[in-house]
């Protein structure tokens, strides 16, 4: 899998745009497997872990964060040129992240509210996922990503097969674990039915509703789910907030948010 004529170990870079670095930390959190991973991958670029710099090309580039500032646009294109496999990691890179909520709001007003000198801040009016700018080969969802899916991806690169990352409802993991459905048994709001799995139903396991951080699954019927939440008596603001989380900018959550934004007035 290595770049021919170079080192036997695949060269790996980790890059970031607008993000909290939490997904990069997940890589460092692999602890038990970390030594094994570095023995098989040459991690040459990883700002969260080392200040060492190493130019491309790279075999794998993990990209964290969304495109949020003007300089990100060229940077992500350059990164793509240097990457044989580009993998986006986390809700920001794959869906725009929590910062994409500004896509429905007044960007200048946000800037003025947060910063003392908004004129010093250069940011884009929209925060967008990496895939809106360059071709993405694989994505790891979540806020943060799941270490199991990360190792599965690394394994698949070494073994030479497709990563076995399933796209199924969080409900599926919930049911396999034997968690009692909090929607049915407690009337909680939960994004599980429309959200893709990978977290092993983390939130429902602790009795709270899924907040959709892994983003919409392939056949998410967000329209029916939001209609059901409204029908159960939840005010549109609450349903809006449920969808407008870390992955709200990803379709079809985006359409629901836009639609509810209209009813919100």
């Amino acid at each position: 899998m290595a770049t021919p004529g170079r080192t036997a170990r695949p060269r790996v870079a980790v890059a970031k745009f607008a993000s909290c670095d939490g997904c990069q930390l997940t890589i460092l959190d692999l602890e038990d497997q970390l030594l094994e991973i570095v023995s098989r991958f040459d991690i040459v670029e990883f700002p969260e872990a080392t200040s060492r710099r190493s130019p491309g090309p790279y075999d794998i580039v993990f990209v964290e964060g969304s495109v949020s500032a003007p300089e990100h646009i060229d940077a992500v294109k350059e990164l793509r040129k240097q990457a044989r496999i580009l993998v986006t990691i986390g809700a920001c890179a794959t869906a725009g992240g929590i910062q994409a909520l500004r896509n429905w709001a007044d960007h200048d007003a946000f800037r003025a509210a947060v910063y003392e000198h908004p004129e010093w801040i250069e940011s884009l009016a929209m925060a967008t996922p990496i895939a809106e700018h360059v071709k993405v080969d694989a994505e790891l969802r979540g806020c943060p990503i799941d270490p199991g899916q990360l190792t599965e991806l690394l394994t698949s690169v070494l073994v030479g097969r497709r990563p076995q990352i399933r796209d199924e409802a969080v409900c599926r993991e919930c049911k396999r674990k034997g968690i009692v459905c909090i929607v049915v048994a407690k009337g909680e709001a939960c994004m599980g039915p429309v959200t893709t799995s990978g977290c092993n139903a983390l939130c429902p396991t602790y009795g709270r509703g899924c907040y959709g951080c892994f983003g919409p699954r392939a056949n998410a019927n967000a329209r029916s789910w939001s209609a059901g939440l409204l029908k159960s008596g939840r005010p549109p603001e609450e349903v809006w907030r449920l969808f407008a989380g870390f992955t709200g900018y990803a379709e079809p959550f985006r359409a629901v948010i836009t639609e509810l934004g209209k009813t919100k007035g």
Partner: protein, 659 residues
């Protein structure tokens, strides 16, 4: 245990009473037999099946409230331990685990694949309901009934002692009586308990069960206790109400693969797959390979999967069931139809879990009723007893209104009627009399709330006199008389009404009835021909019927002036518009005799079966009750045996001159 060896009748039949405070002794006796116990316990706001260490772990004093998409646990007013129905867990979790390592493989050193031998210590399932025993039996068929079997399932199933509990209550989501699986336990158990106020009526169902029962502090139940046990189970049955009409559901569903409801339910369905996870019989799985970083050793894990998953039916070229409606249809038809083809049983036991645990409240019972409704039971009406049945006795009615239909035809609306007339059926007639005029037979053209319509063509002295009456006038009536249109014969078929001229009058009430029951027919059509546009009866009604979506109306006239924009030609020319399968047509025909003969010939040549054609005959009548001999037609009196006849019953008298 899967197959219980035959037990001596005496031991099997022997019932015992176990006091409530001795339930712990049952738990201990099971544990002493070397088994761990899985049973109901309260967790996360529900009654789930989990490890039971002592009787205190069982849910005493709880009841559940279940409906589509909703489950709530509440404190009960009693201390019953089994006073609820099935919860989110099904026993398949323990016989068919949601995650199971089925193989391991190595690439380095010794290349090879290994299958772990299932190692399952003896276990007892405590609190298995009748529907759940049925579900275990269904999975027995799936996993053990064919050429290839699931060894892991066999071992887990064989390791389990089944301690059944009869249901003494039911939830709104329960429908075991519809699927024929409960509420009473009919076998497949080692021990069965029925909870009553004072404790439990207990009975062994196998030698293993008998060995445990033998160790319990027990006594024979009193007659009252044994009776209460039966009554409580019966109460659960009654609570569920009438069973759903499931007869032929498999075939009914196969006929409805293109029903628009599939798309409608798919709009609601969020495809979370919770129904399939909660279902005690769903058995679909996927295999996941997990390996170390360089793939030198790996394990294969089997996971519960669901046919609602997008990837479930996907191959390199795409998804065989690409649309949500395809996936919903796959699931529902498998449960209730194709499961029969594969496993010779239903895939549904009526536990209702798929209803309760559906977060968007889809109720399979409603979907089945909408997609593949039962063929409605046909209630054949009987003719009401006529009033004033002797030729000289008349019941008096008042003329409420008069409406001119054509130059010579008038519709009278009669009210202040004897109720018998209102209970008449379309196709029947009345004898109408005025003092000094001979009585005439007139068919009832319309049934209103408190009135009937008679449409009369002025051809003789009585009919002319009737047509000249004014509102408020009184007339004498006898009836309702004769046979009526057997609308029920057309249920599930294409109902075709063919009328010529004033022949629409005896058919008017039938068209009303067909329209009112239109969902019982494949289609309803009216073909109406008259000599000229001016000869058309019921022009307002014709317009309303034409506008009605449930009816297809086609009208023609034999001849017309330039102002007529519609079709010209005899009524049989309209048959060219028939596009459906004529073997599924039931036809009702009235008009002048020659028109009826031509119409019947036309319908038969299109493929309408002769025994599905009904005609109404006209003959001279004096008495209307088969005593005067005037209306004889072959071996029949038209007044009494008719006027509505099945064509076949008329034999060759129908087409013959001079009968």
């Amino acid at each position: 245990m899967i197959a219980s060896p035959a037990l001596s009748q005496a031991a099997a039949a022997r019932q015992w009473f176990l006091a409530r405070e001795d339930l712990g002794a049952l738990v201990e006796a099971i544990r002493d037999s070397g088994r761990r116990i899985i049973g109901p316990t309260v967790r996360e706001g529900a009654i789930v099946y989990d490890e039971i260490h002592s009787a205190a772990d069982l849910p005493a004093g709880w009841r559940d409230e279940q409906s589509a998409g909703r489950y709530r646990l509440e404190h009960a007013t009693d201390q019953r331990v089994f006073g609820y129905t099935v919860g989110p867990t099904s026993w398949k979790r323990f016989t068919f685990p949601p995650n199971l390592t089925i193989a391991s493989a190595r690439r380095a050193n010794a290349f090879g694949f290994e299958q772990p031998a299932p190692d399952v210590p003896p276990v007892a399932f405590l609190g298995v309901r009748a529907c759940e025993i049925a579900a275990l039996a269904i999975q027995d068929r799936v996993f053990l009934g064919g050429q290839f079997t699931d060894e892991d399932f066999r071992v887990r199933r064989s390791a389990a002692l089944i301690v059944a509990v009869q249901c003494t209550t039911s939830s709104s989501t329960c429908f075991c009586t519809s699927m024929g699986t409960g509420p009473e336990v009919r076998g497949g158990h080692d021990i069965v308990l029925t909870e009553i106020d004072e404790g439990f009526v207990i009975q062994a169902g196998s030698p293993d069960g008998a060995a445990i029962v033998a160790k319990l502090p027990k006594r024979p139940p009193s007659h009252a206790e044994a009776g209460a046990a039966i009554d409580h189970v019966e109460a659960a049955r009654v609570q569920m109400g009438e069973p759903l009409p499931m007869t032929g559901i498999g075939e009914r569903l196969k006929l409805q693969l293109d029903h628009p409801r599939w798309a409608q339910v798919a709009e609601r369905c969020v495809e979370c797959g919770n129904c399939t996870m909660a279902c005690p019989t769903c058995f679909c799985t996927s295999f996941i390979e997990r390996s170390d970083l360089d793939g030198k050793s790996s394990t294969t894990e089997r996971q519960w999967d669901s046919c609602f998953d997008v990837a479930f039916a996907t191959v390199a070229g795409g998804d065989f069931r690409a649309r949500p409606r395809d996936r919903y249809r796959q699931w529902l038809t498998h449960k209730f139809s194709t499961w029969w083809d594969q496993f010779d049983s239903s895939g549904c036991v009526g536990c209702g879990r798929c209803i309760t645990w559906c977060p968007v409240r889809i109720d399979v019972r409603e979907e089945l009723a909408a997609i593949a409704p039962p063929i409605a039971p046909v209630i054949r009406p009987v003719a009401v007893e006529p009033v004033a049945a002797s030729p000289g006795a008349y019941s008096i009615a008042r003329l409420a209104s008069v409406r001119a239909e054509t130059e010579d035809t008038t519709t009278l609306t009669l009210t202040d009627l004897d109720p018998a007339f209102l209970s008449g059926r379309p196709g029947q007639f009345v004898m109408v009399a005025l003092p000094a005029f001979p009585a005439v037979p007139i068919s009832i053209s319309r049934f209103r709330a408190n009135a009937i319509d008679l449409t009369i063509r002025a051809v003789g002295p009585t009919s002319t006199a009737l047509g000249n009456l004014h509102p408020g006038a009184k007339v004498g009536l006898r009836g309702p008389l004769g046979t009526f249109w057997p609308m029920e014969e057309a249920y599930g078929r294409h109902a075709v009404v063919v009328a010529g001229g004033v022949g629409l009058s005896p058919l008017h009430g039938l068209v009303d009835a067909l329209a009112a029951n239109c969902d019982r027919f494949e289609s309803v059509s009216l073909f109406y021909g008259s000599r000229t546009p001016q000869d058309q009866l019921f022009r307002e009604d014709l317009a309303a019927w034409t506008a009605c979506k449930a009816l297809d109306v086609a009208v023609t006239v034999d001849r017309a002036g330039p102002e007529w924009k519609g079709r010209v030609g005899v009524v049989t020319t309209l048959f060219d518009m028939i596009s459906w399968d004529c073997s599924k047509v039931t036809a009702f025909v009235v008009g002048p005799e020659r028109m009826m003969q031509a119409s019947v010939q036309g319908l038969i040549s299109k493929g309408v079966p002769a025994d599905r054609i009904y005609v109404s005959m006209e003959r001279h009548m004096e008495c209307g009750i088969g005593l005067c001999g005037h209306c004889q037609m072959g071996g029949r009196f038209v007044c009494k045996d008719g006027p509505v006849f099945r064509l076949n019953d008329l034999g060759d008298t129908f087409n013959r001159e001079g009968i």
